[in-house]
């Protein structure tokens, strides 16, 4: 009896979707638009976070060491800095390594390369590159480094990142502000969409629900096809948004790579890696909205 009713419910759901094809198309379109805004928001959030993180990743402190510094002393200093509370990572760049990097960086500038050759020796000094644990606590790291007293340190290059840091923090704040505004607009739009979905559900099913009640249908028998239809609409909406969004992301990716040159931003991989998390949550949320809208509509007329 239960399975027979369940089969009938599923049959009625598909029948209802097919016979109210225009309403079904409109419902799915509204869903796709809402999901599109959510995913655009995710894209903007991901890009901004990745950009800020990439910039933060580049922030470090250079300690230039004396040419005469002994390798053992350098390693001991490296270990000491590595133990600092605010230091995430310390990298030692030897004289020869520094030269390699310098040559690689200026390989397209023959004047610099020639000058280096004429000099006949490696003019660069060894250095320690310190990455902060938390960019926001950059100042604390500098204070800790200032407290280190070592003869082998020739120059502490601290200040050249301060301006960048301030700018990043400013950009972060602005992004958060814009994100919050966009989220508020989105929440408002979603409420409107849900409200209208409820109204459409009430308008369309009013007569139907009353008739079902009058011929002796139980609340479960009336509600279930609407619940099932809500899930089908949500599933169709997710399929469509996946079909539309991935080609768009593939189109966007080359522009992102050109615009954020040197930064690791791959929005397509982000969506691929988080496919289940993003689209399953969206599917569940869309189903819930549809089911709620239908249940409110059914509840309103099921007291007949």
């Amino acid at each position: 009896m239960f399975f027979l009713s369940l089969l009938r419910v599923i049959k009625f759901s598909f029948q209802d979707i097919g016979r109210n094809i225009w309403l079904s198309i409109v419902t799915i379109t509204i869903l796709v638009l809402a999901l599109f805004s959510v995913n655009v928001l995710i894209v903007v959030d991901t890009i901004s976070k990745a950009a800020v993180d990439s910039i933060k990743e580049k922030i470090d402190v250079n300690l230039y060491l004396k040419n005469s510094a002994d390798e053992t002393d350098i390693m001991s200093l490296k270990a000491k800095i590595g133990n600092l509370e605010n230091a995430k990572e310390v990298r030692y760049i030897s004289k020869s390594e520094a030269l390699e990097v310098f040559q690689e960086k200026h390989r397209n500038n023959p004047e610099i390369i020639d000058a280096l050759r004429e000099l006949g020796k490696n003019p660069l000094t060894p250095s320690l590159i310190v990455k902060p644990k938390d960019v926001d606590r950059y100042d604390s790291l500098i204070n800790e480094l200032n407290r280190i007293d070592s003869d082998i340190i020739e120059l502490k290059n601290f200040d050249n990142h301060k301006a960048v840091l301030m700018k990043i923090n400013d950009i972060s704040r602005k992004i958060n502000k814009v994100g919050l505004t966009v989220s508020l607009v989105f929440i408002f739009t979603t409420i409107l969409v849900v409200y209208n979905a409820i109204r459409v559900a009430i308008y369309t099913h009013k007569k139907e629900i009353i008739i079902m009640k009058l011929v002796g249908a139980s609340n479960w028998f009336i509600r279930s096809p609407f619940i099932f239809s809500g899930i089908i609409y949500a599933f169709a909406g997710i399929l469509l948004i996946v079909a539309v969004f991935f080609p768009l992301l593939n189109l966007l990716q080359p522009y992102l790579e050109t615009f954020f040159i040197d930064y690791r931003i791959n929005i397509v991989s982000f969506f691929q890696d988080n496919f289940l998390r993003i689209f399953l949550v969206e599917f569940l949320a869309a189903s819930l909205i549809n089911i709620l809208a239908s249940l409110i509509a059914v509840g309103k007329y099921s007291r007949v």
């Binding site: 009896m1 027979l4 009713s5 009938r8 029948q15 209802d16 016979r19 109210n20 007569k207 139907e208 009353i210 008739i211 079902m212 009640k213 009058l214 011929v215 002796g216 249908a217 139980s218 028998f221 007291r303 007949v304």
Partner: protein, 226 residues
């Protein structure tokens, strides 16, 4: 079969739809309930199908006291009573066959039984050739026949017909009344709510007249009085 004991229905202290109605309809009777618009006829029908609860009194159908019927029991009650409405109340997105079958599907009847019974009932009401049409593709009379088929399909003991001819021309109206008489002959108790004088006078059956929420006349072989 139907027993109303001193029922009242008060919507508002100033609005009393029923004012102490007493009624007893025996099994197999054909009764016309007549009265002007707004006198309480439809309220009586609504109390009989559990759509309205009475303010005081008792409502008993087939021995079942439904005065304080629980919401969850209403579907069970409605599956035992056939109801015909003036505005048909057919599901527009279902064919005539599906509309009739729906009444059985909600009771959980097996598909095989449904596909056997529905065509038989459709034949009784003269719609065997139009089963797969949608309500908007047939005439008002045919829609009302479908409603009768739907009301009959689970073999109810009682058939309530609330102004079944209200939206029909006289030819179609007579056909519907003939159909109701035929159903009554098979033993179904029929309560016909109407204000169609010609129909009531031609029937020569029991007539109960309601006015201002009260039964003002109950004649075994009656006429339309008001």
């Amino acid at each position: 079969m139907i027993k109303l004991v001193n029922i009242t229905k008060i919507y508002h202290p100033d609005i009393k739809a029923l004012n102490g109605v007493n009624l007893h309809i025996k099994p197999g009777e054909f009764v016309s309930l007549v009265g002007r618009s707004g006198t309480g006829k439809t309220t009586i029908v609504k109390t009989l199908i559990g759509e309205e609860r009475v303010s005081t009194g008792k409502v008993i159908i087939g021995g079942w006291d439904i005065t304080d019927i629980r919401q969850s029991e209403v579907p069970v009650l409605r599956r035992q009573i056939g109801v015909i409405f003036q505005d048909f109340k057919l599901l527009p997105k279902k064919t005539l066959f599906e509309n009739v079958a729906f009444a059985l599907q909600v009771c959980g009847q097996p598909s095989k039984k449904i596909s056997n019974i529905v065509p038989q009932v459709m034949k009784i009401v003269g719609l065997e050739g139009k089963m797969h049409r949608y309500p908007q593709e047939v005439s008002g009379g045919e829609q009302q026949r479908t409603v009768i088929a739907r009301a009959l399909v689970h073999r109810p003991k009682i058939l309530l017909a609330d102004e079944p001819t209200g939206n029909l021309d006289s030819i179609n109206a007579n056909e519907i009344i003939d159909l109701l008489l035929k159903i009554n002959k098979f033993g179904t108790t029929v309560l016909l709510v109407t204000h169609n004088r010609e129909v009531v006078n031609a029937l020569k059956r029991r007539v109960i007249t309601v006015d201002n929420g009260l039964v003002v006349s109950d004649q075994a072989v009656g006429k339309y009085l008001l």
